[in-house]
Subunit: 152 residues, 8 copies
Amino acid sequence: MGTWRVYLSGEIHTDWRETIMEQSKALGLPVEFSAPVTDHPASDDCGAVILGDESNKFWYDQKGAKVNAIRTRTLIEKADIVVVRFGDKYKQWNAAFDAGYASALGKSLIVMHDPSLTHPLKEVDAAAFAVTETPGQVVDILKYVIHGQLDR
Amino acid sequence: MGTWRVYLSGEIHTDWRETIMEQSKALGLPVEFSAPVTDHPASDDCGAVILGDESNKFWYDQKGAKVNAIRTRTLIEKADIVVVRFGDKYKQWNAAFDAGYASALGKSLIVMHDPSLTHPLKEVDAAAFAVTETPGQVVDILKYVIHGQLDR
Amino acid sequence: MGTWRVYLSGEIHTDWRETIMEQSKALGLPVEFSAPVTDHPASDDCGAVILGDESNKFWYDQKGAKVNAIRTRTLIEKADIVVVRFGDKYKQWNAAFDAGYASALGKSLIVMHDPSLTHPLKEVDAAAFAVTETPGQVVDILKYVIHGQLDR
Amino acid sequence: MGTWRVYLSGEIHTDWRETIMEQSKALGLPVEFSAPVTDHPASDDCGAVILGDESNKFWYDQKGAKVNAIRTRTLIEKADIVVVRFGDKYKQWNAAFDAGYASALGKSLIVMHDPSLTHPLKEVDAAAFAVTETPGQVVDILKYVIHGQLDR
Amino acid sequence: MGTWRVYLSGEIHTDWRETIMEQSKALGLPVEFSAPVTDHPASDDCGAVILGDESNKFWYDQKGAKVNAIRTRTLIEKADIVVVRFGDKYKQWNAAFDAGYASALGKSLIVMHDPSLTHPLKEVDAAAFAVTETPGQVVDILKYVIHGQLDR
Amino acid sequence: MGTWRVYLSGEIHTDWRETIMEQSKALGLPVEFSAPVTDHPASDDCGAVILGDESNKFWYDQKGAKVNAIRTRTLIEKADIVVVRFGDKYKQWNAAFDAGYASALGKSLIVMHDPSLTHPLKEVDAAAFAVTETPGQVVDILKYVIHGQLDR
Amino acid sequence: MGTWRVYLSGEIHTDWRETIMEQSKALGLPVEFSAPVTDHPASDDCGAVILGDESNKFWYDQKGAKVNAIRTRTLIEKADIVVVRFGDKYKQWNAAFDAGYASALGKSLIVMHDPSLTHPLKEVDAAAFAVTETPGQVVDILKYVIHGQLDR
Amino acid sequence: MGTWRVYLSGEIHTDWRETIMEQSKALGLPVEFSAPVTDHPASDDCGAVILGDESNKFWYDQKGAKVNAIRTRTLIEKADIVVVRFGDKYKQWNAAFDAGYASALGKSLIVMHDPSLTHPLKEVDAAAFAVTETPGQVVDILKYVIHGQLDR
């Protein structure tokens, strides 16, 4: 298989995506990464900015969430592997939603989170093929599943 | 259509499910409700109790979550409508996971939560056909979509 | 096959549905009919009445259309045959939308309309298994496909 | 994702498609656009011209609509995003049919129309991820969902 | 499984369907049989009789074939097992079409024909789970797969 | 959900199926069990007995395996839960084939085997929602997922 | 859409495939054609030659038909358009089988045959988007659906 | 079709994969081969090495099997043809699992094994399009189905 498509969902306040992408690039892995829009204000405001402002916050949010869904749904459906990262802040229900969505589509799900979140994430972890804690582990998995290369 | 199948996912610490079921019954609505196991300790321990104890908490949780998944996946796949309730406590990532799973399967999703949760739930709400706040609204929707009856 | 499920979509201002249902009943055909909510004001207002009023007409309509979609989508997906009637008034884009939706799901589509609408409906007719003009023709088709009975 | 495939359905009497395509090209967006045949006489006559004339107008139209369907169905099924434009003239039932067809296939639907059409298009809009009024808004959405770039 | 649904496609000029149904009934097999309309003139004329006459033979046939397809497609899609019988007369392309259609849907295909037809039917037979010569063999298979009962 | 459908695949030389069925019945569980034909000689000979003898052992086996597949494929596709039991004798590749088949169809897979088989069955276990050792554990799971009842 | 994939099924004793391919090439149409193996003896013997001879003609044919099915099924599933040509000789049940198979997969079906075969092919024609008589008409359709170019 | 994707599943202790790949390359066949990780220790240990050690052998194996499943599931789902080789040692339940998984996904299955395994593999063989004994036969099939070239 030429190129593996990996979607990186979830937490947007640390540089875990960049770490995964840089390490993968350094290894020359044939991976095409994709992700949601990680510019938080743009992600919140895209609907109102493009389609017109809304005074009602519910519809303001709905407009934006729907526009973002065009991107996230399309990219998740194209992905071979979906990695979902849960951080230590915020509700992150969109991350769990993506995990459920990806799982129902039969994607290979990899979850990344601190062990302290194990209990509340048990249903999400149970749908995963690997539960990781660090970007390095995700890269190790990619290297292994793509090239069969395991560093001991 | 004889009977509508409605799955009630999410928060397990208030009586919202009972309210919906009782009001629907009082109205004679032809609905077959289903839900996850709402006995919290049973839900946590089912894997270890049935399949053997685990000293490692991660695997303890995984065993349980997998057994629960037999129930939840089967019932969500059979459902026509999936209602997901978010309360004001706990992480509730399993609720968001169910919402994503149901949405990817093309189920009609109804979300129920307090308006204070609108922003963090915007992606989940964006996948819903109705965003409600009370069990009564869910019953009103069921009554309307099944019988076409709208009380003003 | 015990019961055939037939969804009657489209025009809501004449009694074509009742005619089909009565004639089918008189013939004892094993058909379970379903339809959208045909009470026009209820159909327009259901979202705002159940979920809360909206001053913005766009969102007022969206709330209602989404609630109605719970019913229409569920029933179309359960149907074996989808009949779509186009009348001589109104835009009726929802009827054409239902026809496209049903066609993509592989339902057997029957269209009913006056010959004067043949040209603008040619793409819809092209997706149909039968293009009829009267409720009696629809009943004749049901009688034939269910019982193999053809009255000459 | 290398290239996004966008199908432009609906109104064929204004230059909205060209505007979207030119603006996208100017921005260097990696989009492959497709559309129905927009030469109205060719679209009407293709069946009879290629397959043989028909004196009966119904079959004349059917032959053409079926040949056009080879193109439209194939391209909609390949598309990631389907944009449907409703103008102020004609019945445009084929546009609504395409919207229903695309929606049932799980495509990301974007609708474009004048606000005056909001009420009759409410069911179509309810299936959309964005309801736009201008080609520029469609291009803004494409720029945002592909590059995450939002101009304020 | 309560009832097995078996569709009997193909040749309509001998009593093979009646033989299978009678023997199955005598054995008390829980099978619900279905079939195309086997009244040949009705099958040929149903379109024109119900929807209006056609002077052009091609369209006369198309109208009928489309109406018949409502029945055959629906019943094949509902079936667990599809039996296709090829006789010694006529082209019987509709039988082979049904076999291909059923096979692509993943139905369990049983073919019945005289050994003299083995070579021209080799592609159809290759898609079958059993190639039979007599109605009795079909009934033996049904008895075996339903009850596990094998008479030696 | 009224009745749960559970397919019992795999080993046919011990009474594990009967134990599961009797215990489930004693508990009044609403389960409809199904299974392959467990009469080994009938299972081996069904093809040749019904369709005609074969001197070549390969084709003898193929005829039988294909007839059995009508039963096993149909029942697995109808099942909600597929239980696959591996014993301590024979190759049992058909059991592993069924597990893969059921897994690809999205069925909830439960595996049953002695811990001594853990290593060679690791890929099969990895696809399972529960790995059990005894019929009693399977019944406990059914009781729990159906009634939410957990005996400690 | 870059390249259209067109599978050419059916009659193998005239040069209709070559005509279509040459005319398409002359027009520079972006079409990738595929077809079954049209070397009749190779097609008949491939199973026995590669996998070992069979004295029983039925199994001889089955071996070959199965090997051919690897090619035909794969190519039909990859195709956007399936053209099926019926000639004036032989049973051609494999052609009708392919038409049914392609139709159930939702492929755009084009049928080619002499008008004298209209009646026995009516069910196949009813599943088609175009019924043609000559290779030139098929090329005209390809030119039209790909480029929107209609020569009058 | 440009490139055919062939997944080589099963036995990892002989050089059958290399033989197939070398012979295919020598023939210039446009095939992209893929396979599970065939480094047995890496395949056993990948989960524990990447995700952290496990003292419990069951979880040690599960971690590894799940990581391997990311590779095998993805590659099988991308494949056009799945070849499964059974050797004369080990349980090889993963090979049979892959065969069932591939079969349920509708892949063209080719099985390779010694005739001595015919009886225990009869259900797997029955799902195959070809049952081979040598790598050369697999290459002959690829050459034939891709180029239509049959060497006698």
